[in-house]
């Protein structure tokens, strides 16, 4: 046995960051694997959006003007972004569980950087929602949806999704550190989820919305992400609007991260 107090030596910043992120990410992943129902839901839910909504609204939409000619093609962008939105919106709750159980404060007593607990969660959710996005893309491909921009377009779609997801994750993490118990968390996220989805261009083109809803949807960051994906899937590369979307999403992320940092300062103190 090693002599007391001689067990560990300081490591370089990068080695430390790598080692703490490795175990933190590994823990989030292990927790998911041990909950088979949650894992199944994460894999199946994207299909549900596409199949259920795609066919449900597809019948009605047959009579209306749907950009891209088929509702399924139109809907694919919405399914990818909605899945990212829901995954990231719920993504902060694990930190709230850790706060409630006392596991968080135990982690805070370790030499690992405190912010790594949060950044590992961002990385985990980006990886998870990217995997879900790939599943949706593959399912849509099987049903005949082809991306106008090919493989590079798929990568761009997933990157835009991750950019949007980062802001939502920040909001969720901020919420987790602002509330006392998870029984407060679920009503709030549950209440926010559906209206934000419907007040976006996920299911219906902005042009077909009543004026007031269109005005709300124009302010919804989800609309920006969806419209960018939709252009990549249906039309092709349009540098101008694409860069505009990226700029808008970066601004959204900055606002959310700032809000989350304020909540974290209190919660991690």
């Amino acid at each position: 046995m090693t002599a007391a107090g001689l067990g560990i030596q300081p490591v370089t910043v990068w080695t430390g960051l790598w080692r703490e992120h490795r175990v933190l990410f590994g823990r989030w992943l292990a927790r998911l694997r041990r909950e088979p129902l949650a894992l199944l839901a994460l894999l199946v839910q994207p299909m549900v959006w596409l199949l259920l909504f795609g066919h449900l609204f597809g019948q009605m939409a047959a009579t209306a003007q749907v950009p891209g000619g088929s509702y399924l093609r139109f809907m694919t962008a919405g399914a990818v972004v909605m899945t990212t939105f829901n995954g990231c919106l719920m993504g902060g709750v694990e930190l709230l569980f850790d706060r409630e159980s006392g596991f968080l404060i135990r982690m805070l007593a370790a030499p690992a950087r405190r912010v790594s607990i949060v950044t590992s969660r961002f990385i985990y959710l980006a990886a998870l929602t990217t995997a879900q996005g790939l599943i949706i893309t593959a399912a849509a491909w099987i049903m005949g949806v082809r991306y106008a921009t090919g493989l590079a377009g798929i990568a761009a779609c997933l990157a835009i999704g991750a950019l949007f997801g980062a802001g939502i994750t920040a909001l969720s993490v901020g919420l987790a550190f602002s509330l006392r118990t998870h029984s407060q968390f679920f009503p709030i996220t549950g209440f926010a989820s559906l209206p934000l989805t419907f007040a976006s261009s996920a299911l219906v083109p902005l042009a077909l919305m009543p004026g007031w809803l269109r005005a709300v949807a124009r302010l919804n960051p989800m609309t920006y992400a969806i419209d960018a994906l939709r252009t990549l899937i249906l039309t092709g590369w349009q540098a101008g609007p694409l860069l505009g979307t990226v700029a808008a999403l970066v601004a959204f992320d900055v606002i959310c991260l700032t809000a989350a940092t304020l909540a974290l300062r209190r919660g991690l103190r």
Binding site: A3, A4, G5, V11, L24, R27, M107, L108, A109
Partner: protein, 259 residues
């Protein structure tokens, strides 16, 4: 800088206010190297506040605290490398296996994956948990989970190990089993500072105790010596003499028997 002559823990005139409430009011004490030191006191006496300051989770309002020769305010990260902690809340991750819980903590202390696995095997063996290494922690008994928490707190070979109510809620055989493990940890060179509600535990396990009440240290010494000095038959009476009250009624969890 730390030197080998420093005490393991050195607390001087430590004060901590929460708003208008003074949780610690000029507490001073020292813990020698390789001691098992018990901090006894009723609920709200300042035990947890003291421990959280020593763990760098709280800043003192005034006064100084040094752990392993390092100032907790000036060098918090260096202090964290030198200490281990078993909080009173149950903090194993029930979804991870016993081994994963330990390797997770090893990573949080910046051990390499290989060192982490080696250390986990070593610590689980020391805690008699080797055969349960691959079981999810939720399937372990209360006593085994508590030992797993201790194993998790030892990944960095701490100079000082802090135990908050280490045997709360355990039945007597699990409690004795855990005491033996704590002594074994001490014998390997780690200093142990614990809080406890059980005066029997303080008497049997601790080399020295401090009695804290209303944020102040009321008495410090070897249990037998304290009994003699205050002319008391039991540590219970010592406690009464030092604080003017019986040790607060045992917390509710104490009534639970976990095997």
């Amino acid at each position: 800088m730390s030197s080998s002559a420093d005490p393991a823990v050195q607390v001087k005139d430590l004060t901590r206010d929460f708003g208008s409430t003074r949780a610690l009011d000029g507490a001073s004490f020292e813990v020698g190297k390789s001691e098992i030191f018990g901090l006894l006191g009723p609920n709200g006496a300042g035990k947890t506040t003291t421990m959280r300051i020593l763990l760098t989770l709280l800043r003192p309002t005034s006064g100084t605290a040094r752990v392993a020769g390092l100032d907790v305010t000036a060098e918090p990260v260096a202090v964290r490398r030198q200490v281990g902690w078993v909080p009173q809340d149950r903090t194993v991750d029930p979804l991870l296996t016993a081994a994963e819980n330990v390797t997770f903590m090893a990573g949080m202390y910046h051990l390499s994956p290989r060192e982490g696995r080696r250390r986990a095997a070593e610590l689980l063996a020391m805690a008699d948990l080797s055969e349960h290494a691959r079981r999810p922690a939720r399937d372990l008994s209360g006593g085994m989970r508590r030992k797993l928490e201790l194993a998790m707190s030892l990944v960095n070979v701490p100079a000082v190990l802090f135990l908050d109510e280490p045997t709360l809620g355990l039945d007597i055989s699990a409690r004795r089993n855990l005491w033996a493990y704590v002594r074994e940890i001490r014998d390997s060179g780690t200093t142990i500072m614990l809080t406890t509600h059980y005066l029997e535990e303080a008497d049997m396990l601790c080399d020295r105790v401090a009695i804290i009440d209303r944020g102040r240290i009321q008495a410090t010494g070897v249990p037998a010596e304290l009994k003699e000095r205050l002319a008391c038959a039991t540590l219970d009476d010592v406690f009464l003499a030092a604080t003017g009250q019986q040790l607060a009624e045992q917390p509710a969890a104490d009534q639970l028997v976990t095997s």
